[in-house]
């Protein structure tokens, strides 16, 4: 499948199945559009065997192309086609989709649990309006995870990860620092069982910053592979959506702490992470604000909320948001050019060393490789399903008992979603988020249309930035 688009002065052609990306001039851009039409009714290449692929000879297609590219010289058309034909024969243009045959075998493989999200606190000292956890309580009562439950969860992870060495444990909430003593105890316990079990834990912590102090920061810098600091951007935006329970803002309290945290980690292995809503459709200004505060690892992401919420992203907001991503991409390129580059999570893409096709097709791992643990020890497919009775998978005493649900998540992939099959971004987003799909369509194999539109735009911007910085 070919996808071509123009962005920031670049003509970009993506060959979806091979992962190839070409930056082309105007004549090739127009030629590929014509060839794409041609390929719908005629063979653009012949495949004698796997290593013997021939593009349709120029003489056979000359009339078709010269008719459609009449503004170009015939000699230029011939020269350009020679380059295009080379890429076709190199299998980096107009390649076939062969993944459907492989994905069935891959999804039937035996999986191991690689990561746990520990809901260490179903309680919070903020009252964020968009919190999918309902002010941190997740459809239930306020609760803190005990050391005993957390210990059983780590033991379960060690057992269910089988021969895998590297394991990830996220401390999540609610606000995890409302149960910091247990966080410390669990990290200490995890470290104590690493050697005997040939495991290596990578711990991460997400916090709203209200309780962050020097002792906690020193601990986090020693033990946490990643630290996620929640801040939405400009003060008025942040305080509107992230008030304290008494209604006062939280921005002034957390910003100095977050600046100190980022600096103390050498501007690495952390994210300041914000949410944009219908209230700040100019969210590029919030990213700029965070960059100007000195943060170098930034993520600002669209809210996922019921359509009835006044802050929910609406379909009519999408064009404005896409424009914002364009503005942001140019801004980030300018910063980079002036030696003050920052990373934006959703524009980070590894074209040459990214994951294999299997990983790209099968997605995030929720429900089989990744589980969330509620404070009482119940297991769920991921943090967004916690507290939903239909998604209870077992508990830390029994392990996963709802194997039918696990298998349903295992089979959730790009080819289980009709809408994804013909999407150019399928190997970058891997079919999207199961929780978002469920929340908007009632089916983990559904698709969340607004999320898809924004994801496609982000992929286009990220690739444009790669084109702009390619040597």
């Amino acid at each position: 499948m070919i996808h071509q688009y123009q962005n920031n002065g670049y003509n970009i052609v993506m060959d979806t199945e091979s992962g190839s990306i070409h930056v082309v001039d105007d004549i090739v851009y127009d030629m590929i559009a014509s060839l794409n039409e041609y390929s719908k009714t005629s063979n653009i290449r012949t495949v004698a065997c796997e290593d013997d692929i021939k593009a349709v000879p120029y003489e056979e297609i000359k009339e078709y192309l010269t008719d459609r590219l009449s503004e170009y010289d015939e000699s230029e058309i011939a020269e350009s086609y020679e380059e295009v034909a080379y890429l076709i024969e190199d299998e980096s243009l107009f390649t076939d989709d062969l993944y459907a045959d492989y994905i069935a075998d891959y999804t039937n493989r035996e999986t191991v649990v690689k990561a746990l999200c520990l809901h260490i606190a179903h309680d919070c000292n903020l009252a964020c309006k968009y919190c999918f956890a309902g002010e941190g309580e997740y459809h239930g009562e306020r609760a803190l995870m005990s050391f005993e439950v957390g210990k059983k969860a780590l033991d379960l992870l060690v057992k269910e990860s089988k021969g895998r060495k590297n394991l990830e444990v996220d401390f999540f909430g609610g606000e995890p620092l409302m149960n910091f003593e247990v966080v410390k105890q669990l990290v200490e316990y995890g470290r104590s069982i690493e050697e005997a079990n040939n495991k290596k834990f990578r711990f991460t912590l997400t916090t709203n910053g209200m309780l962050l102090d020097d002792e906690i920061l020193e601990f986090a810098n020693r033990e946490m592979g990643n630290l996620v600091l929640s801040i939405d951007g400009r003060k008025e935006i942040h305080d509107l959506m992230r008030p304290r329970r008494g209604g006062q803002g939280s921005y002034d309290t957390i910003v100095p702490k977050f600046i100190k945290a980022a600096e103390s980690r050498g501007q690495m292995n952390y994210y300041v992470r914000g949410t944009y809503t219908h209230n700040n459709l100019d969210f590029s200004e919030d990213v700029k604000h965070l960059a100007e505060l000195g943060f170098e690892q930034i993520s600002v992401e669209p809210v996922v909320a019921p359509e009835s919420a006044d802050y929910a992203i609406k379909e009519e907001d999408v064009p404005k948001l896409c424009e914002q991503y364009d503005i942001l991409a140019k801004y980030l390129l300018e910063r980079r050019k002036s030696g003050k580059g920052v990373n934006f999570f959703h524009f980070m893409i590894d074209l040459s060393g990214g994951p294999c096709a299997y990983k790209r097709l099968s997605g995030c791992g929720s429900g089989c490789e990744y589980l969330a643990v509620a404070p009482n020890g119940d297991l769920y497919p991921c943090h967004q399903f916690v507290g939903m009775p239909d998604f209870l998978m077992g508990n830390v005493d029994t392990g996963v008992t709802n194997t039918a649900l696990r298998d349903k998540f295992k089979l959730c992939n790009v080819y289980s979603k009709e809408e994804c099959k013909n999407c150019f971004a399928k190997l970058y987003c891997s079919g999207g988020c199961a929780a978002n799909a469920y929340n908007f369509t009632g089916d983990i194999n559904g698709v969340y249309d607004i999320g898809c539109a924004l994801q496609r735009k982000r992929v286009e911007c990220a690739i444009m930035m790669k084109a702009a910085t390619a040597k």
Binding site: E17, S18, G19, S20, I21, H22, V23, V24, D25, V28, E79, S80, E83, V84, Y86, L87, E91, S92, T95, L98, Y99, Y102, Y106, R109, V112, K114, A115, R164, N166, E168, F345, M348, I349, D350, L351, S352, G353, G354, P355, C356, A357, Y358, K359, R360, G363, C364, G365, E369, Y370, C382, L427, Y428, C429, S430, V459, A462, I463, K466, A467, A470
Partner: protein, 33 residues
């Protein structure tokens, strides 16, 4: 090439020929190595 500049990308079709060592994600910016 005069008309085309190809970015350096991983050949995904060759990658079909799955170790499962990669971490979970919440995929595009992940790095295999």
């Amino acid at each position: 090439m005069k008309h085309i500049k190809s970015l350096k990308t991983r050949n995904l079709k060759k990658s079909i020929k799955g170790c499962g060592e990669c971490q979970t994600s919440c995929v595009g910016n992940q790095s295999c190595e």
